[in-house]
Amino acid sequence: MFSSLAAVLFDGFAYGMLLFLLSVGLSVTLGMMNFVNLAHCSFAMVGGYAAVTLANRFGWPFLATLPVAFIVAGAIAILLERLLFRRLYRASDLDQCLLTIGIVFISIAAFAWFYTTEQQSTQLPAFLQGSIQAGGMSFASYRLFLIVVALLVTGLLIAGIEHTRFGARVRAAVDNQRMARGLGIDVDRTFMLTFAIGGGLAGLGGALSIQVIGLDPSFALTFLVYVLIVVSVGGLGSIGGSFAAATVLGISDMAGKYYFPWLGAFLIYLVMVALLMWRPVGLFGRR
Amino acid sequence: MLSVKKLNKSFGSLVVAQDIDLALPKGTRYALIGPNGAGKTTLINLVTGMLRPDSGQIFLGEGENQAEITALQPYRRVRQGLARTFQINTLFPRLTALESVTLAVLEREGHAHNWWRGLPAFGPAADEAASILGSLNVPAEKPTRELAYGQQRLLEIALALATRPRVLLLDEPAAGVPRDESAALFAAVENLSRELTVLFIEHDMNVVFRFASRIIVMVGGRILLEGTPDEIGRDERVREVYLGRSRHAA
């Protein structure tokens, strides 16, 4: 019995890390910049398709495609930020919602046009396939890889946001634009870079998630709900919050499916509703 | 009319209200003064229920119809006749002044839950609102966000008056209002009915000494002393509190 409990916990944590990687970019754009970016999963799709194209058409190794996915998605994020988002930082969150849903629709049609609606399939490199036996239990190597990447991203982000000058500038600009300008911070450039990081993380999350949840043009809508759940439960503006929320949701979803499967789909929504009613601003949310 | 017994409140180690006792008789004009951070606004928030006290009691009314309101929800205290204005304008930007005050009158009369009859059918409420606004000469037609800052401060008072309070708490009513207009504002407060008990927070000593019948001095969450304007004017401790150790001879 013990081995299956450990397996469930490991799988739950790995699934949580996948949810975290997919949503951490949103906890930057929505969380820190207070911009309702429902097009977050479109950026994830950009990263995903970039990785697939490089791997399938140009034969790039899987690991090499990840940074490129980050950069391509970040570049597209900058482009859209300059063209559209910049004008809507002070707009009502309903208008931001309408704009970004419009971008989701455009991205779905565009990717259906270029890549057809076919399910993209990629091959994992050999060392990430199968599973590693340890202590009588088998741990899927790709899931271990996800956990490592997630921890790396969390560490880099928290260090970057909390302990660097750039991080301080971002937090200042987000908290009070006027004051930040008063202190000589180039708020415009800071917002652009922050958005680029948010978009890039989404692209990375997209590229990593193809192996587990596949990729087709409707990706932008199907996983939007999960990403919103993680960021809202985690708390706005808190990377650690998203990490904790993703872990809690991942493990409870996995345990639920294993121990009481008839509860199946209800579980993740019940957990979300319960957590939000207990802490409306999220586990570590500040506002 | 409004009395407070042994009121305490602290946020962790920060004590914002310590053993506060007060009794405001009916119809008096009280000024509440003290340096920034003395806990003046906090006291109003505690009395109006926006903040829950750690201990102590709050009573409204006099004689036998005095009732404890410590646990009452904020909107119920307003219905019992305890109204307040806010230090920073807390108004309805896109509603006109008339709509705002009419809403307050309708809430008071218990009509606000009526979702069937049209607003025009409530003429008397609108007329009462118009007269309140008229008395404070606030333009009725324009949306609140297009009013001048001074007019918005008067609208704060109009909204409070619309609830026909027995006790009116004014949190720095003239804050940010140029000197000449603040005099007119206090004149308007002055000729409110004698029945009304008023307590206002103010930093401008000329205004305080002209309009207040009694003054309460608060420091560090505690009431230093209470007295008539003359007693407070002569008291050494008040000058010290405001000017710090007096470096030059009085």
Partner: protein, 391 residues
């Protein structure tokens, strides 16, 4: 003189009638989650028209393509009504999803329009209109056959079912378990996946702990089969000990590509595979790749292809007349050789009758293939037969 004019008028009327194009309303899910199914079906129809021309019995074939955008019966019913009322179509074809086909069935019955279901697989759809035929498959047809085969020739005594918690999932689970038990098999347990379920490892772990002799799976096509295959590989389910049984979608082309060797030895039952060696299928696949930018056909495509074939055949039999009574009468009992194999429209139930192939995933020339190793010929839809018996 009058008679000549009359005859001429009649002739032109008939000729005009002959000249007038046959308008076919082609309603599919071309956007949203099931867009790929819609596109594959659409390519199947286009491939047939490329191979057999666009004129039948002297009348040109004109397609009016409409998108329902996912399971939306209210939209499907409205589109069917508009096709009849506004576009004046003669035939209602396509129908990828069951709720949409059900709604359109009412319109076909009321407006007396011949209707061809090219995919939706729930058995009861065919009863919604007397003018409807189906050229795809029904779930009981495949799953009951598979259940009976598994407990008999398959030599499997015990199974554990894992299906997606929605209409088709429930139908195939009931069909498989009833037939499996009737043939002497026993069910060790069952579990249902939530519809939107990106991760299967918990379910697979549960199945592994029970270590049943076999596992029966039904999940929709698209991303899920690959995810399930990976979960099984990661959990170390040894296919030699625990036989994995599934519907054709579980080992469709995209799923095989993503699963890689995890898919080896999975046994599935289905009515079509693009790798089948029949010359007709080889030609169909080649032509299809031309139309679909190099993609291979799947069962959605062959449903569209055969649907058009049935329409062409009945139009030939009625000499171009398009009233529903004539068309459905012509369709009853229609037999032909399809890329999937022999096919027939059941004269009583108007449903599809076809071979069901049992296949195992093997590596052939370095490529993963569903190799058929058993065939159950000309299977009728058992649910339809039961309905017929009750009447």
């Amino acid at each position: 003189m009058l008679r000549v004019i009359l005859a001429a008028a009649l002739a032109t009327a008939f000729a005009a009638h002959a000249q007038q194009p046959v308008k076919i309303g082609l309603v599919m899910t071309l956007s949203g989650q099931f867009a790929d199914a819609g596109n594959q079906m659409h390519n199947g129809v286009k491939t047939y028209m490329k191979m057999h021309g666009d004129t039948v019995a002297g009348r040109k074939i004109e397609l009016v393509v409409k998108d329902t955008g996912g399971p939306a019966p209210d939209v499907a019913k409205r589109i069917a009504q508009e096709l009849v009322v506004r576009d004046g179509v003669d035939i209602l074809a396509g129908w990828v999803l069951t709720p949409n086909a059900m709604a359109a069935g009412d319109v076909s019955a009321e407006a007396k329009k011949f209707m061809v279901v090219m995919n939706a697989a729930t058995s009861v759809i065919i009863t919604k209109s007397p003018y409807m035929i189906r050229t795809s498959v029904t779930l009981p047809q495949v799953m009951e056959t598979f259940g009976t085969w598994a407990a008999t020739k398959g030599g499997i005594r015990q199974s554990y079912t894992m299906v997606t918690d929605y209409g088709p999932g429930h139908d195939s689970e009931n069909a498989f378990t009833s037939a499996f038990k009737a043939a002497g098999g026993s069910i060790a347990g069952s579990v249902r996946f939530p519809v939107a379920n990106p991760d299967f490892s918990a379910f697979v772990q549960r199945a592994k702990d029970l270590a049943p002799e076999s596992i029966f799976i039904f999940i929709p096509g698209g991303a899920q089969p690959a995810a399930l295959g990976k979960a099984m590989a990661e959990r170390g389910i040894d296919k030699k000990k625990t036989k994995v049984l599934g519907s054709g979608e579980t080992t469709a082309e995209a799923a095989l590509k993503s699963m890689g060797d995890n898919a080896l030895d999975i046994i599935t039952a289905w009515h079509y595979d693009y790798m089948s060696k029949s010359p007709l299928n080889q030609k169909f696949v080649k032509e299809y790749q031309g139309v679909a930018g190099g993609r291979n056909p799947d069962f959605f495509s062959v449903g569209g292809y055969d649907g058009m074939h049935a329409i062409y055949e009945v139009l030939k039999k009625t000499g171009g007349k398009t009233d529903a009574e004539a068309l459905v009468a012509a369709a009853k009992g229609l037999k032909w050789e399809s890329p999937r194999g022999p096919m027939m429209i059941d004269p009583d139930t108007r449903d599809v009758v076809q071979n069901v192939y049992i296949r195992r995933v093997q590596k052939v020339g370095g490529e993963l293939v569903n190799v058929p190793f058993d065939t159950i010929p000309m299977v009728k839809d058992p649910a339809g037969e039961r309905r017929k018996a009750q009447k």
